[in-house]
Symmetry: C2
Subunit: 203 residues, 2 copies
């Protein structure tokens, strides 16, 4: 049970991705205050694509909100879809890859002092180019795989999102990038720990 | 150089912590669009307090934005202070602890698809209760330690932020909590990987 009490709530801004509200609240210590909350319209999905050679497939994204390039795991809004379906779509749109094995790792919350932004983190293995192998004829993976089997213009999808490159980074190098500031996206760093924990690589 | 072009920018909401703007943009593929950006008024600081017994000190916070309890590393807004100064203050206010050793681990960005929210991550070791030992007389640590040496009513600070408990969690158990959903704060998960990488605990 929350110690916070909401007295009044006003939507101050809304677009297709976020809704911002200002609430009049009574704080846990009983004092009155205001709280601005940024609620995502839909959960986000994050995909850690790990190749058979232990490389993480990362996208280089021109991030408008921070005004700089960022090296990240493929991610995006779920747009109301099932999270796994959305994860398959994002992986395919952003990297041109499909995966045979999907493992849900975690549901976490980004920047929860301000945002109501749940994120579903998946590990994707058994990677291959879309349109090569089973997904072309739809005979493996059934409905789940078919979800990502429609024609996708990867270059166009990348351009609209500001993705300027796709890099296969050996796992050890990805950790070096986390250490040295080459990866600064907090959700990517979190997704890599979820992966390390799931694979027993951290002690 | 960004591929995005900002055509027009309007502040649609602002409080002491965030400023929300809606920009009219030209997207990387040349199409027009709108982009809602949530800019933090000040960077955030995140502290991983690690005891001599290899326990992580976590706070249990009643998080208003997500409407649930969350187990997290001590964190908060820097309020325009130097990040290390803010980190010392947050550790002290939220846990009643001071640290003799501070190590900056990373600067990362939270939820950068929507937010401009830089975060400074620190590792804090050599922990002891505030008011015990050197910081009481201000003879060790110099100006930096003195920054956190004023009187702080920890219970009152905790109450206003909705902190309901402080837990010392053995490092291995913290990883188990990441795996099993006991820790869902993305920035805490990221801070733990920064720590694991810095201490050579992940391979």
């Amino acid at each position: 049970m929350s110690q916070w009490q909401r007295q009044r709530s006003t939507t101050v801004y809304e677009n297709a991705w976020i809704r911002v509200r200002e609430d009049e609240v009574t704080r846990p210590d009983g004092t009155p205050g205001i709280y601005g909350v940024v609620a995502l319209q839909h959960p986000t999905v994050f995909v850690v694509p790990l190749t058979d050679d232990d490389e993480v497939v990362l996208v280089e994204v021109d991030r408008y909100a921070i005004g700089r390039m960022s090296l990240e795991v493929p991610a995006g809004g779920s747009d109301g879809e099932d999270p796994l379906h959305a994860a398959r779509r994002e992986l395919r749109e952003e990297t041109g890859l499909v995966a045979d094995e999907w493992r849900p790792l975690a549901v976490n919350y980004s920047f929860n002092g301000v945002c109501d932004a749940p994120g579903h983190v998946f590990l994707a293995c058994g990677l291959r180019p879309a349109g090569v192998g089973a997904d072309r004829v739809g005979d493996v993976g059934g409905a789940a795989d078919a979800a990502g089997a429609g024609p996708v213009d990867v270059a166009a999808e990348q351009a609209v999102e500001g993705i300027v490159g796709v890099r296969r980074v050996p796992w050890r190098e990805a950790l070096d990038l986390v250490r040295d500031g080459g990866i600064t996206d907090a959700e990517t760093v979190a997704a890599l720990l979820h992966t390390a924990v799931a694979l027993g690589r951290v002690r």
